[in-house]
């Protein structure tokens, strides 16, 4: 995001850093887990659509079943890794009655980590929803 030429006009230094968007304390971790869900969803859709379009309407779905399972497991593993980052690096916790209202950088980090963790759980659940039909259906 940062370009060398993005520096401010010289002569004065504004307070603080430039907006830190990708490094530690980034907000992208919030959208990372649902993005993995989205990628998994689209991949499943494409695999199925192309398989069924190219192999015929009554094609068997038993052979590509391992693809579905593998996609689901890889996505879940990626999200678990994100969850570990959310806990370790951001200090995210899993609580129901959230009161992370501390006005500090650490407080903001913990809030982002907490929400990221919740989104990880939701994303894994949603991926589970997508995997189930792949295991049940025998034909297109």
């Amino acid at each position: 995001m940062r370009h060398g030429s993005d520096e401010q006009p010289r002569h004065f230094t504004p307070p603080g850093d430039a907006p830190r968007v990708i490094d530690q304390g980034s907000v992208w971790i919030l959208v990372a887990a649902p993005s993995i869900w989205a990628a998994h969803f689209l991949l499943s859709y494409w695999v199925a659509a192309i398989w069924c379009a190219k192999a015929g309407p009554m094609a068997s779905l038993v052979e590509p079943r391992w693809i579905i399972v593998a996609l689901g497991l890889i996505s879940a593993a990626l999200i678990a890794w994100l969850g570990v980052i959310a806990v370790r690096r951001y200090g995210g916790v899993f609580v129901i009655f959230e009161e992370i209202t501390e006005s500090s950088e650490r407080g903001r980090d913990r809030f982002v980590g907490h929400v990221a963790l919740l989104l990880c759980v939701l994303s894994v659940v949603a991926i589970g929803f997508t995997v189930i039909p792949g295991l049940v259906f025998a034909t297109c």
Partner: protein, 852 residues
């Protein structure tokens, strides 16, 4: 971590001085006052634009509501011929179109423009003139689309305008063109508002309002504006394809020429389903904002609501095919979308449970807004449950296109969107007008609407199950739907009566009524810090925020703001000023100057509107003239109002804080606006990429043989030239940074012919092989993928010449070069587009073994 200024340890304010306070107030008033008399139409202040936006949306709502009553009159008795079939088709099409595009989405923008800056403790949004431009586009486009019914040429193909009915001009007349062009125009204004709101939430928060302290309303606005950015562009891409087929006969949806009508359904619903949530989330956000006020405590599960907003935003993009369950897609594909449609109920449910929990742990004060909020939840949960039913494929096959669906969608939209909005109207009316609404009339309007709604729409579940198809003109007595339809019609009129009471209550002149007291509801969010009577500057001084509910948790805040003890209490330079802060922790970055009243935005909106309207009638010459007028007005507006070099590089903002008065690159809101707009533009392009692969998946012989492919060599030459033009633009940015103004201008202007040759080479690669867009879908797709970058390149040229002129006249200098940085950012996106197209046209056929 960082050497940030510790905002909690600022020097104390200067002692209060009444004379100084008066002088500051006078200067602020002079700067923020709106133009008198009829010139008020040039106002850009969010409180004016927001109010106009809101009233205009409600005018369209009333119009669409009258159409609904006409539909109900037609269906009241069997065998009715009150309205002709042609008119009836126009009625239901325009009802859906106006409700969705002219009310439900714009009202989100209207409400956000009114209250978002105030909730953020900001004076205005970062681009007030863009808000004004969006509003004028909206009203022009809306009147055009709605007005068509008075000439008998309103769109009549249903609000989702399915092909091939809509792609063949013989079946669908002018109405479809009006629909396509009018709505594309309004989508432009929606995307403009989305850009404004995203930048507003990210960069215009008050100092100290970190992400964990940001009010829920802002989270929802951020999420929804982001969704608009990814949902609307695919429809614009679809509109473009459909209009090209209608106006010039390009083969996109015609099966005889290798097209596929189903493509439209995909592109429409990739927009259409997220749109439902784009409508729902901002309204539920209103409940999330007012509920803590009446509960007298912070929201339970603040972060869980953030989770559900973000979660719904994502999952809602995986639902689009559930509108297409009966189109014969493979069952495994349907099941993925069915699963996602079930999954989205999880985050949606979470936020409802958070609301209920907040009400359970507190004593909720009874009030009219809470009455509407309670009614909303009851209706919405009912509609949500039928939603889970129709998300199941076998049930949907039975209920598809029946009145059951009509009942379901009205339960979700009226419960999820309209009732919360009415709650919001009652809640924020005193904030906007400083007068109180009549509570008795409020209760009457609620019960009339709540009762009328259920009487109208509950029976439709039965008529639907009994087989009544949606959009049917009339029915026979023997169908057995007569009684239920009569009940529905009566309910609809009771509902309308309730709305009439509400409208009367809101519009009732209250000139002599007493002003309400400040912070009437004892709320905790910043918008209620506004003085009574209201001042045009929004907030007297911009405070430091370190809690979620500042008015509850920061003692004495309102008095401090009033005494001008916080930031920017003055307007010494006679300029409208905002503080721009960083995304994560809202640390003050710089003081942004924003534009005041202007007729230029009006002129730009008028010309753009005229060119869209004239294009409907295929009057190409005048269309181009007005198009040029639009470009002229916009350039004039940009030249005189953006990236102005400040008179001094920094200024004192109060409380020991000195801030720069200029920013460029990713510190400046302008850079973010370009970034966000271009993200939307890339999404539209992705719609075209999707179309390409859709054809390839659906049609076995989509890719032609090698001799009919655009020539690889010419594509490669074109790519090299286009990337070269991009490199020259980036080079111009670097050389200007080093102070070489002449070289920088030369590179900018030199990039023009290089880019032209590049796109020319691409055009030649297709032309030389005889690709005819009216003959085959592949040819049409290739030409579209060349036309797309060509149009962007045209814009790039205008921008390059503009920036070169800015350098020439000293408005863009080595030190202050925001314009050139924004142009470079634009060209990065263009380069990415060009590379993707090369991959599609040159590499993909090769990969599939058909290239030479």
């Amino acid at each position: 971590m960082t050497d940030e200024i510790d905002l909690s340890r600022l020097p104390p304010p200067e002692p209060y001085d009444e004379a100084r306070d008066k002088a500051q107030r006078k200067r602020l008033m002079d700067v923020w006052r709106e133009p008198p008399g009829w010139k008020i139409i040039s106002a850009v202040n969010n409180s004016y634009i927001g109010k106009w936006y809101l009233l205009t949306s409600f005018a369209f709502f009333t119009f669409a509501g009258i159409l609904a009553l006409m539909i109900r009159m037609q269906l009241a008795v069997p065998g009715n011929d009150l309205f002709s079939q042609q008119l009836y088709n126009q009625l239901f099409t325009l009802h859906g179109t106006a409700m969705m595009f002219l009310f439900a989405v714009p009202i989100f923008e209207a409400v956000a423009i009114i209250i978002l800056p105030e909730i953020l403790g900001a004076r205005d949004l970062p681009f007030p003139r863009l808000s004004a431009f969006g509003f004028w586009c909206f009203i022009i486009g809306g009147i055009f689309v709605c007005g068509s019914i008075f000439f008998g040429v309103a769109p009549d193909g249903g609000w989702f305008m399915y092909t091939p009915l809509s792609s063949d001009p013989a079946y669908s007349g002018l109405g479809t063109d009006i629909w396509l062009l009018g709505l594309s125009f309004i989508e432009v204004s929606s995307i403009a508002a989305a850009v404004e709101l995203i930048v507003g939430v990210l960069k215009s928060r008050p100092p100290g309002m970190r992400l964990n302290l940001m009010p829920l309303y802002c989270w929802y606005v951020l999420v929804v504006a982001g969704m608009i950015l990814f949902a609307f562009p695919p429809l614009i891409a679809g509109d473009l394809l459909l209009e090209m087929e209608r106006a010039f006969g390009w083969a996109f949806f015609d099966p005889d020429r290798g097209g596929d009508p189903l493509l439209w359904q995909h592109l429409f619903w990739i927009f259409g389903h997220p749109e439902v949530y784009i409508i729902f989330l901002p309204s539920i956000a209103l409940i999330a904002t007012m509920l803590p006020t009446f509960a007298g405590r912070p929201m339970v599960g603040h972060s869980w609501i953030v989770l559900s907003a973000v979660g719904v935003a994502f999952l809602s993009f995986g639902l689009w095919v559930h509108h297409m369950f009966t189109t014969g897609l493979p069952e495994i594909s349907l099941s993925f979308f069915s699963a996602a449609s079930e999954a989205v109920a999880v985050p949606t449910g979470i936020q409802i449970f958070c609301f209920i929990a907040t009400m359970l742990v507190s004593r909720v004060r009874p009030s009219v807004p809470m009455l509407f909020a309670g009614g909303a939840l009851a209706i919405f949960v009912f509609g949500g449950l039928t939603g889970v039913m129709v998300a199941l494929v076998p049930f949907d096959w039975q209920a598809h296109d029946s009145y059951f669906i009509v009942a379901h969608l009205h339960y979700t939209l009226i419960g999820g969107m309209l009732f919360p909005l009415f709650a919001g109207i009652h809640y924020w009316y005193p904030f906007v007008t400083q007068k109180a609404l009549n509570a008795r009339a409020g209760k009457w309007s609620f019960w009339l609407m709540f009762g009328g709604f259920n009487v109208a729409f509950l029976p439709m579940h039965w008529t639907g199950i009994m087989g009544m198809p949606r959009r049917v003109w009339t029915y026979d007595l023997s169908d057995g739907w007569a009684l239920l339809n009569m009940v529905s019609t009566i309910g609809a009129f009771v509902f309308a009566a309730g709305f009439a009471v509400l409208a009367l209550n809101v519009l009732w002149p209250r000139g002599k009524a007493p002003l309400v007291k400040r912070n009437l509801w004892n709320a905790g969010t910043m918008e209620w810090a506004a003085e009574v009577p209201d001042k045009p500057w929004g907030v007297r001084s911009i405070p430091y925020i370190h809690t979620r509910y500042p008015l509850w948790e920061q003692e004495g805040l309102v008095d401090q703001i009033d005494r001008g003890e916080w930031f920017l209490p003055d307007a010494e330079e006679g300029k409208r000023e905002l503080i721009v802060t960083d995304i994560l922790d809202a640390r003050p970055l710089f003081v942004q100057r924003v534009g005041g009243p202007s007729f230029l935005t009006l002129g730009a909106a008028f010309c753009l509107g005229a060119s869209f309207i004239l294009a409907t009638f295929h009057l190409w010459t005048i269309t181009l003239i007005f198009g040029a007028g639009f470009v002229g007005f916009t350039l004039w507006w940009l030249w005189t109002g953006t990236s102005l070099i400040p008179e001094k590089p920094e200024k004192y903002a109060g409380r020991g804080l000195t801030l720069p008065t200029y920013a460029q690159g990713n510190r400046s809101p302008g850079w973010w606006a370009v970034f966000i707009t271009m993200t939307g533009d890339m999404t539209a392009f992705m719609g075209l990429v999707f179309s390409y692969f859709f054809y390839w998946t659906a049609l076995p012989d989509f890719l032609p043989s090698a001799e009919h492919l655009p020539s690889f060599a010419w594509l490669l030459v074109g790519l090299a030239l286009l990337i070269g033009a991009w490199g020259m633009t980036v080079g111009a940015r670097e050389t200007l940074g080093r102070g070489q103004r002449g070289l920088s201008m030369a590179l900018l202007i030199g990039a023009l012919p290089v880019g032209a040759l590049g796109i020319g080479a691409w055009g030649w690669s297709a032309y030389a092989k005889g690709l005819d867009p009216t003959a085959q879908s592949f040819d049409a797709m290739v030409w579209m993928l060349i036309l797309w970058p060509a149009l962007h390149l045209l814009l790039n040229w205008v921008m390059s010449l503009y920036v070169a002129a800015r350098i020439k006249f000293g408005h863009c200098t080595p030190e202050y070069r925001a314009d050139l940085m924004n142009l470079a950012l634009y060209s990065h996106f263009l380069a990415l587009t060009v590379i993707t197209i090369f991959a599609l046209l040159a590499l993909f056929p090769l990969l599939m073994g058909v290239g030479s």
